[in-house]
């Protein structure tokens, strides 16, 4: 059984990695991220089909994405309520919050009602997700980042980032 890729780096290693820009994206890394999100098809990278040295890469990509390419996927950040203990690391480490909520710079809870850019809110001892549209992974065209800071630093492994 093929496990669907979680990380765009798993797709990047099978691309030409020449940054030729024939697909219209600024780099092979950007194309890999778009492939994961389902906004482009594998065939849009023309060197993969035209040149025989990339054939194994092309076959592997077809196998990994298994017919799900081109179907637009949504970013989901799932927080497991059973595991969360409201430690506040996700709120304070998030770079978007650091720009808009000044209280968190010294480790304090942000103001209430929450700022319209604030991600995550701690209420009744559990963490809730807010304003997903302001996450750094979904920033405006070309400035998206592969940001997994909340997922990496949660000590109870309660946050999972996925596309589906």
């Amino acid at each position: 059984m093929i496990i669907p890729p979680k990380n765009f780096m798993e797709l990047y290693k099978f691309l030409p990695q020449t940054n030729c820009k024939k697909c219209g994206k600024p780099s092979c890394m950007a194309f890999a991220l778009e492939l994961l999100k389902g906004t482009v098809k594998i065939e849009e990278c023309t060197p993969l089909i035209e040149e025989s040295k990339y054939k194994t890469g092309y076959n592997k990509l077809k196998e990994l994405l298994e017919g799900e390419e081109g179907i637009k996927k949504e970013l989901k950040i799932n927080i497991d309520n059973e595991k969360c203990d409201a430690c506040g690391i996700c709120i304070i480490a998030c770079p978007v919050n650091a720009r808009y909520c000044y209280s968190i710079l010294s480790g304090k809870t942000p103001d209430y009602p929450p700022d319209k850019h604030q991600l995550f809110l701690i209420k009744q001892g559990k963490c809730e997700l807010l304003n997903l549209e302001h996450c750094r992974r979904l920033a405006t065209e070309g400035r998206e980042r592969e940001c997994r800071i909340c997922e990496t630093y949660c000590p109870r492994e309660a946050i999972k980032i996925e596309y589906n």
């Binding site: 690391i89 304070i92 480490a93 480790g107 103001d111």
Partner: protein, 440 residues
């Protein structure tokens, strides 16, 4: 929302003062910002095990009684005792702690707080040489290395790491990237998940921390070579990296946990560690190492400050003829030697936290319990007197783990007009006075 609408939380000794409480309707509140430990404190007000009136044990059952009868029986027990002990007080305000010491003085009792078996041990071990401490604001703004020694921060004080490691203080604006975390423990616990690539994890063998500290002392003092096979289960390269951090950083903070308080191989690892810190602080003039211990209850440091300023001693306070006398006993040895005939337990669950050999002796004499919900001690107590929850239903002063005073606020009224700890102790003291005047 203004900064001064925020309320301090009395869940643990971190005493976060940035909690926001929103009143939705009568007795229904939204609590923003508190971790699970803090929420548990706020939920105590509606607990199904909350005690709402006094109880007295008759024929081995607890029977509900009126306040007058309960106070009368309490006074009778106290007057009939020659050698009472008072214990707890780390979940009460400083005003209550002062009243309790005055009560102990009046009845020639022995009074001690939870601090003797926890946070207070660090101060005790530092009596000869002194200790460098640091405040939370300084840790946020100036520290660059955080060491957790025998302390699992994620499972005991959830918000600590978010405040000291991930915050972006005034002189540490890049936050996590510029701070280093070093964890020393016997197994890979939940705190290890927060480690990054530049951090250090040392897994020591059980009861061998003292060997590691001895080697570090020899290296820093006499500059001897590292043993090739490492020590205490840690290899040579890791010890080298550890020493480099200790000798070349600007501001190191060591958080000590229960793991380092046990006597190992007839040596006290805490004393040896404080010696090592002394040596390094003298050697490295551009840097400084501070030591901190955090307790589970929110006012352990408060009792020590109040006792020290009122009577001149911070722990193990024994009164005789209304005066302080010397004693080498602490609460555990007092109970073990059966040197008491009545115990008054305030705000703690002594039966569930002491070893069974101590709890069995404690239950062999009468117990007066002052607390707000059922616990192990409730099921063996002879008199139970309920009080309001400090920090939610009554206000008071508390001292944080770094000895900074924080004023706790009153958010709502207690149910059933229950008195707070200070009012109850006041009532007992004045009834004792009245009885004395009548009998003269």
């Amino acid at each position: 929302m203004n900064e001064d609408k925020r309320v301090p939380c009395s869940g643990c000794s971190l005493l976060c003062d940035d909690i926001i409480v929103i009143e939705k309707d009568k007795s229904n509140y939204d609590i923003i910002g508190a971790c699970l430990k803090g929420i548990q404190k706020f939920e105590q007000r509606n607990s199904k095990n909350r005690i709402l009136s006094p109880y007295i044990r008759q024929n081995n059952e607890l029977v509900k009684v009126e306040w007058d009868e309960a106070i009368k029986k309490t006074i009778k027990l106290i007057k009939g005792s020659l050698n009472p002990i008072l214990y707890g007080f780390s979940t009460t305000s400083c005003e209550t702690q002062l009243k309790a010491i005055k009560l102990a003085q009046k009845i020639n009792g022995f009074i001690d707080s939870n601090s003797t078996i926890c946070q207070g041990k660090v101060l005790n071990s530092a009596k000869k040489k002194g200790i460098t401490t640091i405040t939370l604001t300084e840790i946020i703004n100036k520290s660059d290395v955080i060491i957790l020694w025998g302390f699992n921060a994620v499972e005991s004080i959830p918000r600590l790491l978010s405040k000291v490691l991930f915050s972006r203080g005034k002189f540490r604006l890049t936050g996590r990237e510029i701070k280093t975390l070093i964890i020393i423990d016997t197994y890979k616990n939940a705190s290890f998940k927060v480690l990054g690539t530049k951090d250090l994890a040392l897994i020591v063998e059980p009861d061998k921390d003292i060997d590691l500290i001895k080697i570090l002392k020899k290296i820093c003092k006499n500059n001897i070579k590292l043993p090739n096979e490492g020590t205490a289960g840690i290899d040579k390269e890791d010890i080298k990296r550890f020493i480099t951090y200790l000798l070349n950083s600007e501001n190191i903070v060591i958080f000590i946990g229960q793991g380092l308080l046990k006597i190992q191989k007839d040596g006290n690892p805490l004393e040896k560690l404080l010696d090592l810190i002394d040596i390094i602080n003298n050697k490295n003039k551009n840097g400084r190492i501070s030591t901190v211990m955090m307790g589970g209850h929110y006012n352990m440091a408060g009792f020590e400050h109040i006792a020290l300023s009122y009577i001149g001693k911070n722990q193990n306070i024994q009164f005789q003829n209304r005066k302080l006398i010397q004693t080498k006993m602490n609460i555990i040895s007092k109970i073990k030697e059966r040197d008491f005939d009545l115990s008054i337990i305030v705000g703690t669950d002594a039966i569930s936290h002491f070893p069974s050999e101590i709890s069995k002796i404690l239950t062999s004499r009468p117990i007066i319990l002052i607390d707000n919900r059922k616990s192990g001690t409730y099921f063996v107590a002879d008199i139970v007197l309920p009080t309001a929850i400090t920090g939610i239903e009554s206000e008071g002063l508390a001292f944080r783990f770094d000895h900074v005073p924080i004023k706790l606020k009153k958010i709502m009224n207690p149910p059933n007009d229950i008195p707070n700890d200070e009012e109850l102790l006041d009532k007992i003291i004045s009834k004792l006075d009245k009885n004395n005047v009548n009998s003269d």
